[in-house]
Each structure stands twice: as structure tokens, then as C-alpha cells.
Symmetry: C2
Subunit: 213 residues, 2 copies
Amino acid sequence: MPIEIPDVVIDRLPVYARALAALDRNGREVVSSQELGAQLGVTPAQIRKDLSYFGRFGKQGRGYNVKRLLEELHQILGLDREWTMVLVGVGQLGRAIIAYGGFAPQGFRILGAFDADSSVVGEQIDHLRVQHVDELRSVLRATHVDIGIVATPAPVAQAVIDALVGAGVKAILNYAPIAAHVPRDVHVKDIDPVLALQSMTYYLKGELPAGSK
Amino acid sequence: MPIEIPDVVIDRLPVYARALAALDRNGREVVSSQELGAQLGVTPAQIRKDLSYFGRFGKQGRGYNVKRLLEELHQILGLDREWTMVLVGVGQLGRAIIAYGGFAPQGFRILGAFDADSSVVGEQIDHLRVQHVDELRSVLRATHVDIGIVATPAPVAQAVIDALVGAGVKAILNYAPIAAHVPRDVHVKDIDPVLALQSMTYYLKGELPAGSK
DNA sequence: GTATGTGAACCACTTCACAGCA
DNA sequence: TGCTGTGAAGTGGTTCACATAC
């Protein structure tokens, strides 16, 4: 029984994987935790400790084989297969998410798009035809979907999340500005640039205006 | 000399503020840490302790005055004024960011948009005319800008960040999939939905397919 | 010589639990 | 009585430092 692995560790693994993929593209064959850490702004010990939860991937005196470690991380994270998603909320934000080219190359595929506004339903956006949100349940019953993306206005977001969870979806990527309520076995990650800005301003407050020396 | 306030605390304050704003819109006058915590999935003690770094805003036996606490948080976070931003990278993502309606109501204003692609320069997007990235420095010298938004492809993101930092910008909202290198007095928040997805898959890996009961 | 893997020490944040006040 | 504010205790994650292996 492996001991419990901290969530923060899991959150860092994709960052390591991303850096290793870049090194690999550059033809790099080996990295030390030292060098990887410098590149990522993480201590070498952090990296070694994180990896040690999952195995012994390095060679003393040498470092880590880039390709090998990248494959291991993909396996650990489940990135060695494709994941399916549905998007709910086809406003400006939803359209941008559909158009976003960053998901597919990483194996995340949007299978369906849903909206409550019947003037949007039926519209073709990229490769998707927008369906009415009432059909969400039956679509989820018919098709295997791993992840729900929520890009609705705040007031309806919780209801949408309830519907997704009710249909068995265990992971939510939440763009709506609410604190989602989900059962403990459902995973939620929030994407909220406004919150990110609003915490940075705390530190800016004390500063001199930008540009002044 | 106030003792050092943990960054995690600062990150939570905007979340509290958002919830308080919602309560206020609903006409709610008072909340207890208990209730606010239940709403946000945070322990009441957490909330009280976080707030205690900044003052004593509650009344024993009653709770917190919603309006009052919201104002205090705005003040603490510096949200009682407007913040100016520039966007670099006017691709699909950059356009979506410009079109995004969530910044302005919170006091975050995009003053300029920049791109290296001369076929994009001059284009009018929303209220902005795209400028060449070479003009970034002179614009930043002429205009006070608090925050830089980076929405470029990964390979040029660090150079753009260097330019922003070189011009005195102390906060970066980074949408590019890189680990930014900045001096210690510059603040960076990353927005990366792919990383969010890639850590959730770790937990999904073990699960049964969605929808199976 | 060099860099990993890891128990132990350390540090930071969270939670407890209760005194104090409305 | 009810809920805040807060030292003290507890917990969990990070860093250290060194034995180990290449």
C-alpha cells in the first residue's frame, strides 16, 4: 500500500513533464535534478523527493534519462491515453475553449458542447454542434466522458456541476467564478484569471508605479 | 512591523471577497465564519485566522458585517482602485482575453495589445488597436502599466516577460506554458488549463469509466 | 567525482480549544 | 449564549545532509 501522496506533488508532476518534453525536443538525453530545478524554480531536493514517491528513475552520478523519465511521468499521470471531455456553456469563453488548440495535442478531446440558450443550440462551432443542456444527461449516459468543462455564468454553474456529477463525471475543469460543491470523490480545478489578478494586486499596492526608477 | 503574511492567505482573500460580494447582492448583512466556510469549503478557523492577520473585523456572538468586511478586503487587496494592463500575444487566446468581459467590472483595464506578427498589427480588436511588440518598451515608458498579460507561444514568452520586467512591470499574468524566470520582486501567476487537466487525470486513472454504476 | 534516494530535522500552515466580548 | 480572535498544538510538506551507487 503506497503511502498517501500529497496533492501538491501531483500538481508538480505535469510541470516536470512539460519541462522534460521541451528538453527532449532539444535532443537532451540526461538531466540532473539540479538543472531541472533551476529551470523550473524548484529545489533539486523537491524534485528528487517528489519522484521518489513513485520509484527510482535516476542514476547516481549521472541524473535522469529525459525520455525515460518523461514516459514514466506520462504513465503515472495517465497521460498515455486519451481523455474525453464535454463543455457546458457556449458563450464567448466557451467558444474560446473550443477553439483553443492546446488540449488536443495533449490528448484531451472535447466530444460535445452544451448550452441552455436555444438560439445557440444547433450552431456549429469548430468541429462541434451545440446541443441543448437538457440532452447532457442522455449524452453522458451514451458516451464515456471523463471530464466536464464548466464555462457558464456563475448563477447556473453549480446546477451544471450537479448534473455532470449526477451523470458520473469525476473531474471538473471549472471556469465559473464560484466555489463548486462536489462529493469528495470528484475532482475540481478552478481556472480564474480574476482571482489570480486580485491576489497579485496585494503585493503591487506597496510598489512604486511601474517604470519609475 | 506586521509579521510576514503567508502567500496562501493572500490567495484566499479574493475568494472570500467574491463570496461576500455575492452575499451582499443577496441583501445579506451578517455572516459567521462558520457559514462562509461552509459555502467555500474552508474551515471557519481558517477564515478567522486569515482575517486576523489584518485586523479584527468581526463581532463576537454575531459574526461579520458583510459590507464592512468586503470593503476591508478590497482595501487590503488594493481592489479599491483601477489597475492597468497590457496584453502581449494577439492570437486566438489573446483575442479571447481581450473579449473576456470579466476583467473590466473588477477594475482591471487592458490599455494596449501587442504582437510580433505584422499582419496582425494595426488590426482593431474590441476597443484596442494592435501595436507591434517593438513599441512595447516605449509605450510602457509613456504609460503607467501595472500588469502584463502574456499570451504568446511558448518559445517567445520568456523574451516577452523579460521585456515587460525590463520596463518595470512588477506583475505578470502568464498564459504561456512555460516556467517564467523573473526577479524576486516580480509576481507571476500562471493560467494553464492543460496543467490542471493533467493533474486531475492522475486521480481519474484508477476510477471506473464515468457513467458506470 | 558526481548526483540520486531518503530518513530526519525543520518549517509553515492549519486546526484546536478556549478566553473574551457582544 | 454565540461567535470571534488567537496562542498553542498538531499536521503536512520542504529542505537538509549523507549514505549509496554509478
